[in-house]
Symmetry: C2
Subunit: 379 residues, 2 copies
């Protein structure tokens, strides 16, 4: 795997940013760029100088000749690319494949970014007619969760505090400063009850992972492979108004159940997870939707430290979308890169999850659970 | 399979257009929308009212819950979606999957369409600096082919005449009128030697194909399945200036050789083909790149009628991109739909290719051979 520094990356163009992840991923894989038969790229693309970037990045990184595709599933584009490349290898058509996520979002103005993100849902009806921006979507979820389960603004703030604490330990993270509950509660209201520090930042960044079949990995003499055990995929309605409930994301439930079933494991077997915390409420809902706790118990998990290192199941100990950042098409690939390091016990001890089953879970959603992707990794 | 009428489809929105293909494809498949576990959508999206359309189309067509992705590989986006869904089924993760192509291109102005298409290549350098629009790219190919092999403007015109003749027999085609060599030669020069009638039109349209595993197809009692035998994928440089030659597309050569090898066939075994004739010269090069004849013999094939019904290997007897039209993300899926009908001998006798081996080939490129996808089908 390879992973760029996240943040404002106006110092590089899109291809250079992708190279920062692709180059180290290839170096560690014992494969050269010329030997890679297939690259799946996760990228929204629309806001960068290259809206159709796969071939441009491939040329820049020496991958010309490989089969190429760009995958888009809104904020789950990186996982969609991973599913595509994984399927190509698992089906026996490719013996290896490169998954790349890359996004430059900071070069255009914030209202345009917000509008494009809004199009991940049912833009025409809900965004254009009702002014439902993405923070407002998640505020609907937060309000219902608070009303039904007693989740508080302080509980949500605790998610941000935890993720900033781990972001401060991750030299690749966008936001590396610790924050306090007071700072979150006193920050500007974006869409009540969500405040500035309940929201992930707008970030540039890239990540890459090399996949190989078991046979190819053996041929290459890979000493310590991490295996994709299963991927689950699902979706939900485009219109939020057609959902039956707002206290969770059905696509996360369905995708995770599919992944657990195919991997033959239960949530209890997971040693470490990355979940899609685009807003703090999203992390609380993810605990529940993924079966880490019962519905309504998510806030208790964070209050009791169950998702910290040393707790029952450490979550987003890389900083999460909240502090590491969320370059849209990159996020799903960044999760696989982080969990690979976690499974190999290669991260700083202060944010290394203890391994019991050497099993990890990545949860990546697009839109407000419009797209759901869950990946189970095992070493 | 299902297939909308191609043309100016300002009468419907993007979801309605997709529905016109999805609905009949499901009806013929014995599956309901709710039973489809995965949909891969081929769409550029950028020029329509829905730049992130997968979830919106899924909701409109009753597919909510299925795993979703949009695939983009410029003008080969439809084939990229097919490869994604095919890999998901072939890998055993899905027992069925829906491949959809949809594009509405006519609702925005032509300069913007040309600019976006230009971004399929190395926009910043070649389009912005040198004014190399896509017709100009293909004109470079045509000029070199003419210089090296003696291909003439009349030869290129014959491709257009052939494809318009078949387009006139296809009630779903965008351009259904026959044309003459004189009409082509006297039409406006777009980028010499390419004239208006050497170029495919800008078209709206949709197509859909349901894939299933062998086991699932048997369970469903599908009487006359058409099998995907293999798919080949490849790419070439983003910069045209980095190519070694302009008389062919290396990505087509590589992708077709991969597909032939995996299917265990040779070009001689192909009964009927659809090739990516975005410009007439592209069809001539495709004959050669796919091994239907030697390099430099493409023009002879069209002069001698070898690629007409009754000839050695009928090509684009649905009208091709040239007359049927080229709604970008739809084209690859439309090819699979057309070849399925050809293999089942369900098209009008006047444009039905005679079947010997019941083997068909679809050739779909993105950009100027930036992306190459070749699919082998067999009944």
């Amino acid at each position: 795997m390879g992973h760029s520094r996240f943040g404002d990356r106006s110092d590089v163009n899109l291809s250079e940013l992708a190279f920062e992840a692709i180059q180290p991923s290839l170096e560690k894989s014992e494969l050269t760029a010329k030997e890679i038969p297939y690259m799946a790229l996760g990228s929204m693309g629309v806001w960068s100088e290259e809206p159709l970037p796969a071939v441009v990045i491939a040329e820049y990184c020496g991958l010309t000749g490989a089969g190429l595709v760009r995958c888009e599933a809104a904020c789950a584009s990186g996982s969609a690319a991973a599913f595509n490349a994984y399927s190509a290898v698992r089906s026996g058509q490719m013996d290896s494949a490169l998954v790349v996520g890359v996004e430059k979002m900071k070069q255009i103005d914030t209202p345009t970014v917000l509008e494009i993100i809004g199009r991940a849902g049912y833009y025409m009806w809900e965004f254009e007619n009702f002014g439902m921006t993405f923070p407002a979507y998640y505020a609907v979820h937060a309000v219902q969760h608070m009303a039904k389960y007693g989740t508080t603004e302080e509980d949500l703030a605790l998610v941000a505090v935890k993720n900033h604490r781990y972001g401060a330990m991750n030299s690749l993270a966008h936001l590396q400063q610790e924050i306090t509950v007071e700072k979150v509660l006193n920050s500007s209201v974006i869409a009540w009850p969500l405040k500035l520090y309940d929201c992930c930042p707008i970030t540039d960044g890239s990540a890459a992972v090399v996949l190989a079949s078991e046979k190819k990995a053996k041929e290459l003499g890979v000493e310590d492979p991490v295996w994709i055990e299963a991927m689950g995929v699902a979706s939900d309605t485009a219109n939020l108004s057609k959902r039956e409930t707002y206290v969770g994301l059905e696509a996360s439930v369905r995708a995770s159940r599919m992944a657990y079933r195919m991997a033959g494991i239960s949530p209890k077997d997971v040693d470490v997870a990355t979940v899609h915390d685009c807003f703090t409420i999203a992390e609380v809902m993810a605990y529940e939707d993924l079966g880490f706790c019962e519905k309504g118990e998510g806030a208790r998990m964070v209050r009791e430290g169950e998702t910290e290192v040393g707790g029952r199941i450490p979550v987003n100990v890389d900083g999460g979308l909240k502090a590491k950042g969320h370059p849209i098409g990159t996020t799903g690939v960044s999760m696989l890169a982080e969990l690979t390091k976690q499974l190999r016990e290669e991260v700083k001890p202060s944010r290394q999850a203890p391994m019991k089953n050497y099993t990890a879970l990545a949860h990546n959603t697009g839109g407000t659970g419009h797209y759901g992707y869950v990946t189970i990794l095992r070493r």
